[in-house]
Structure formats: structure tokens, C-alpha cells
């Protein structure tokens, strides 16, 4: 049985995984870059090892360094979290070679699902619906035109190795076909070093709905129902909820069975997610499989009552699944919002820096997975996600109301966050009514804009408070208040110094 796990990650997910380790009596080992010595995951772990300089490709992505620590501390297993090495088949193989359990699927499953064209073929073979389109990389433009005519316009051209919206082109008219394919190919080559592209039918009013699955090493595979992830900004999920407001019991059952079939087609073992694209009539098509834990796994955990990290560890321990499909049901409604260090009123500009003060929401029906603390400086090297806020209630309406009031409770000063934007999402009519697709944010830009019509009283109170604080500091003799982050005073000094140097 696994007694010690190295968590090859940082931030909230590292702490999330360690929490379950603690509950299971398993020792957890943190790895950290030089920028992360003060990070919460180092403080939270039983042991912690530095694995290199701040940039990820010199630390969190260096397989050799991580393996070395795992061997040195005698870790039985490595949990990769999400991002970083979590979908890296080479890393999974290397763990196996070194006799360390990789908490995730086999490299075969990662590889098969990692390449979109291969995955498409597998799914076709397993009877899982895929978006009508080509199953082979496009080589011949004429052939492509013929296929596109069969599918019917509009279509999407997509990079086989793609993700995150790169190497994609939407084609409305026949004249756009050739230039569209060529543009996608060159973008794919630049982004992924692989110019293979394929063609898919374009789905109007698309919904992104995914199914969580769990599969063990004994041939058992179950699904834990769906997550609705259609609130996206630039192909990044912003809000997730379960159940999906557009799902029906019949379609849920059918999609769940297809999700299980998809996982079985690659002999999957561990937690994984099958992403589907779904139209307004609930026609659904396999999109891709994420062969790891998802950011949004907590909403499933709450509604289904299963700790997914615990199940991953149990599976890695070669245990059979402790749940059967018929044991599981959806209980109530959960919503997750992702809170980023970014300025939603200024084009979502990243906002790393020092957190001056944080007050986290408490109380019934709230889960908060975070890692920052007052005085912590959010480094600029990594993902800007600060935390995830999850609310649960018996009904969707109540879960939305709870999220609204919870976002109001959650206060962070010193950095900008996406909290005000998320609050506006919770108040936007299509979201409140559950009628939204992946175009929701771009279609509702106006409703999601900040309303800066502030009452005079509020402005006056802001001014008065600053004045009172200033006078109090004057009185207590501390004339120079410590400044927020890098501090503009000292920057001006530094500037002055440089100026005089260059004047020599």
C-alpha cells in the first residue's frame, strides 16, 4: 500500500491532494521552485524539496529532478495534479521504469487520448458519437472539400495535437476552405510542432458538458454524471456546475454509458473526464478526454459524495472500485467559480503581487480550495488561479443565490481578482435562467461590464476612511506608511539611481 506520495505540483491542487493524503494517513512530499519557498504547499507538506529555479521548465516540468526527489525521499507514488506533467506520457513511463506508482492512467491511455485524430478513431470504434468530420489528417485539399460538402458548412478545422483554441479555424464558406486549412496547419506547426489538422462539423449554440469517470485495474468503470462547463472565456472555463441545467435523465444515462465506453476503449484506470460538445437539442459528440483530475472536480465530489483523489489513490493501490454505478446518484446542485489574480475591469490583465488581506467565506454549503494567505506574494511565473469557490444547495436557484452572497463575503486586497466579474456572471439573466452556451460571455459583454454608477455616499466614505487612516498614522508618528507591493517610492529611487549612473 502507498505510504508516501510526492505531489508534483503547486498551488491549490497540491494542497487539495495533500489533504486527502493526510486523511488516509499517507505522508505527503512537496516539491517547490525557488520562487515557491513561501508557498502554502511547502508549509502544508510533511516534507519539501527544492527542484530548481522559478520558471516551470526549470523546475516543475523537469522529470529528472522530480524523480530524483521521489527516490531520495522513498516516495511510493507521484500525484501529478493537473497541468505540468499530469498528461505527460513520458513522465508516466519514467515513473513505471523507476518503480514509482504514477497516480493516473497508463502512458498508452495518455498517448491515445492526447492525439485528437487517434482518439477520434478509437471513439468511432467504441461506438461513441464523434462530431461528423475526418478521421485522418488532411493531406489533399480537394478531398477535404469533398468531405466538407458531405458534412455541410460551417465546419471547424482543428489541430490534431491541439488544445486551448490554438490551431483552430471556423469556415463558413467554400472560398474559405483552402486558406483556412493552410492557416490552421501553420499555426498548429508553430504551436505544437505538428501540422496535422482535421475537419469537424461546426456546432451551433454549443454546450460543453463533460462526464467524470472512475476506472480501476480490474475492469470496473463507472461515471459520476456530468459537469456543465459552458461558461468560458477564450476557451478557458470560468464557471462550472452540476447537474447541467439542460440535461435530461434519459440523455444523462446514454451519455454516461458512452463515457464509460470511451474510457474502456483505452483500458483506462484512474479518474478521467470525457468532454462532449452538445447542441441545444442534446445531440452530443465526443470532444476529447482529459486523462487527469480536472480543476472542476469538486462540484462532482459534492453532488455525488465521492472524494475523487481518494479514489485515485485507491485505484493506484490496485483496489477494486468501492462504488457500483447503481450506488451513485446526484444530490442537490453545486457550482464552482475560478478566482484568478487578474483585473476584470482592465481586459483581464494578470495581477500578481502581494496579498495584503484576505477574508475567506465560511458557513454552510461552501467549499473553498485555495492556497494564498495574507502577506503572500503571488508569483508571476505560474497560473494566475488563486482559488476555487464551490457552493452547494438543494436546488440550482439556491446554489446560485449562495454563490452570490459568498462572492460578496470573499475579500482580497492588494491584488485585483476576477471576483467582481464572477458576481456579474451570477447575476446575468441567461446564467440565472440556465439558458447559456459557450458563447455566453461574448454574447453578454454588456451585462458583464462593471457598473460604475456609485452613490456619492460610498465615494465619500472611501475618501473619509483614507483620511482618517492617514491622520491616525500621522498621530502615531508613523509618517511613512509601508507601501503595497514593489513600492513606487523605492522604484522612483531606483530610477533616480539609474538615471544618475547613466549621466556619468
Amino acid at each position: 500500500m502507498i505510504k508516501k506520495i510526492l505531489i508534483a505540483n503547486r498551488g491549490e491542487i497540491a494542497i487539495r491532494v495533500m489533504r486527502t493524503c493526510r486523511e488516509m494517513g499517507i505522508k505527503s512530499v512537496a516539491v517547490f521552485s525557488e520562487a515557491d519557498r513561501n508557498s502554502m504547499h511547502v508549509r502544508y507538506a510533511d516534507e519539501a524539496y527544492c527542484i530548481g529555479p522559478a520558471p516551470s521548465n526549470e523546475s516543475y516540468l523537469v522529470i529528472d529532478n522530480i524523480i530524483e526527489v521521489a527516490k531520495r525521499c522513498h516516495a511510493d507514488a507521484i500525484h501529478p495534479g493537473y497541468g505540468f506533467l499530469s498528461e505527460n506520457a513520458v513522465f508516466a513511463d519514467r515513473c513505471e521504469q523507476e518503480g514509482i506508482i504514477f497516480i493516473g492512467p497508463s502512458s498508452h491511455a495518455i498517448n491515445t487520448m492526447g492525439d485528437k485524430i487517434t482518439a477520434r478513431k478509437k471513439m468511432l470504434g467504441a461506438g461513441v458519437p464523434v462530431v461528423p468530420g475526418t478521421s485522418e489528417p488532411i493531406k489533399d485539399i480537394d478531398k477535404a472539400i469533398k468531405v466538407i460538402k458531405e458534412i455541410g458548412l460551417p465546419v471547424m478545422v482543428k489541430a490534431s495535437a491541439g488544445g486551448g483554441g490554438k490551431g483552430m479555424r471556423l469556415i463558413h464558406e467554400e472560398s474559405e476552405i483552402e486558406p483556412g486549412i493552410k492557416a490552421a496547419q501553420s499555426e498548429a506547426m508553430a504551436a505544437f510542432g505538428n501540422d496535422a489538422v482535421y475537419i469537424e462539423k461546426y456546432i451551433n449554440s454549443p454546450h460543453h458538458i463533460e462526464f467524470q469517470i472512475l476506472a480501476d485495474n480490474h475492469g470496473n468503470c463507472i461515471h459520476l454524471f456530468e459537469r456543465e462547463c459552458s461558461v468560458q472565456r477564450r476557451h478557458q472555463k470560468v464557471v462550472e456546475e452540476t447537474p447541467s441545467p439542460i440535461m435530461t435523465p434519459e440523455v444523462r444515462k446514454e451519455m454516461g454509458a458512452h463515457a464509460v465506453a470511451a474510457a474502456k476503449a483505452v483500458n483506462y484506470a484512474s479518474a478521467g473526464t470525457i468532454e462532449f460538445i452538445v447542441d441545444d437539442d442534446l445531440n452530443y459528440y465526443f470532444l476529447e478526454m482529459n486523462t487527469r483530475l480536472q480543476v472542476e472536480h469538486p462540484i462532482t465530489e459534492w453532488v455525488v459524495g465521492v472524494d475523487l483523489v481518494k479514489e485515485q489513490i485507491n485505484i493506484a493501490n490496485n483496489l477494486p472500485l468501492r462504488y457500483k454505478q447503481e450506488d451513485l446518484k446526484q444530490n442537490g446542485h453545486a457550482i464552482e467559480v475560478r478566482i484568478y489574480a487578474e483585473d476584470p475591469d482592465n481586459n483581464f490583465m494578470p495581477s500578481p503581487g502581494k496579498v495584503m488581506h484576505i477574508s475567506e467565506p465560511l458557513g454552510p454549503g461552501i467549499r473553498h480550495d485555495g492556497y494564498v494567505y495574507a502577506g503572500y506574494t503571488i508569483p508571476m511565473y505560474y497560473d494566475p488561479m488563486i482559488s476555487k469557490l464551490i457552493t452547494w444547495a438543494p436546488t440550482r436557484e439556491e446554489a446560485v443565490e449562495k454563490m452570490k452572497s459568498t462572492l460578496k463575503d470573499y475579500k482580497i486586497t492588494g491584488i485585483k481578482t476576477s471576483i467582481p466579474f464572477l458576481y456579474r456572471v451570477m447575476n446575468a439573466r441567461p446564467f440565472v435562467e440556465g439558458r447559456y452556451n459557450t458563447h455566453f460571455i461574448q454574447d453578454n459583454q454588456e451585462a458583464l461590464e462593471p457598473d460604475h454608477n456609485v452613490r456619492q455616499e460610498i465615494k465619500d466614505l472611501a475618501a473619509i476612511t483614507a483620511f482618517v487612516d492617514y491622520l491616525a498614522k500621522l498621530e502615531s508618528g508613523k509618517k511613512n506608511a509601508p507601501s503595497a507591493n514593489g513600492n513606487s517610492i523605492s522604484n522612483w529611487k531606483a530610477y533616480g539611481r539609474k538615471k544618475s549612473i547613466t549621466r556619468l
Binding site: 508571476m380 455616499e457 466614505l461 476612511t465 492617514y470 507591493n485
Partner: protein
Amino acid sequence: MSYEIRLNDNQESIEILNRDGNLLEIAIGDRKYKLDITEVEKGVYSILNDNVSHNVELVPVENKKYEVKIGYESFTVDIIDAEARYMMGRKSDEDDDQSFISTPMPGKVVRILVEEGQEVKAGETIIVVSAMKMESEYKAANDKTVKQILVKEGDNIDGNQPLVILE
């Protein structure tokens, strides 16, 4: 001492009329308030105005300058005393012909697209900075000349640090 206060771009007089512990009578412009105000945590104030409860959070940016948050609103507040008025007078003379490019947050210089001495047009990209896996372009606000470049590609920078001086 007589004070003025500037909230975002609006400057008005401010005067304490009376103070007794938490209880504060204060005038801002021609508006008067009677408040119960107390600092509950460092930089966090609780205010009762006519028994309505408000929570205000302060981030000192520099001496006499604050970023103030109430609810989802953020304001920049400057306290203006005689010294500040004097400094402002001087500064506006100096600053007329010189400005600098800086970023609101720390990051890393990815690319510098200009050279010292080069003339740039309004809207022209001067420098590209990355933070948190995202690149942002910083552009000239007016037609200017690049006077000095204070950083080089690959440098880590603080927020509000002058990067390029234009004049």
C-alpha cells in the same frame, strides 16, 4: 492644517468637525456625515452611517495615497496637504515633456521593440511584458521620442517600475 482630498479625479475639501472616540463628524465638500468609524483589522475599517454597516479596506500605495475598496468598487484616494500642493505645482512643470512606460504588475520583459533615440507614434508598441503565462503589450500614449531604456529583455520587473522613458 487645511486638507483636500482627491478621489479618482475629483478633488474637494475635507474637514473634521468633531471627534469623540469612534464617533466622527466630518465635512467633505458641502456634505456632512456623522459616523461611527473604527479600524477592526489592520487597514480594514467598519463604519456605521445612520446605522448602516459599511466595510472599507485600505491598501496604502504610498504616503498620502491609498487604494480604497468598498464592496466591489475601488477608488484611488490622495490626501492633499500644503506640502502635497506645493509638490504638485512643481511636478506638473517637470512632467510636461517627459513620461515613462510602466506596468501595473510585476513580470518579465519579453521584448523591447524600440531603441534609444527612436521616434514613436501614439499607439505604437514599446515593450512586451509577460506575467502568469500571458503577454501584454505596452504602447506609447502620444507621439514621443525614446529617451532611455531602463531594462533589457529577460529582466524581472516590479509593478509601477519605470521601464522606458519617453519625452
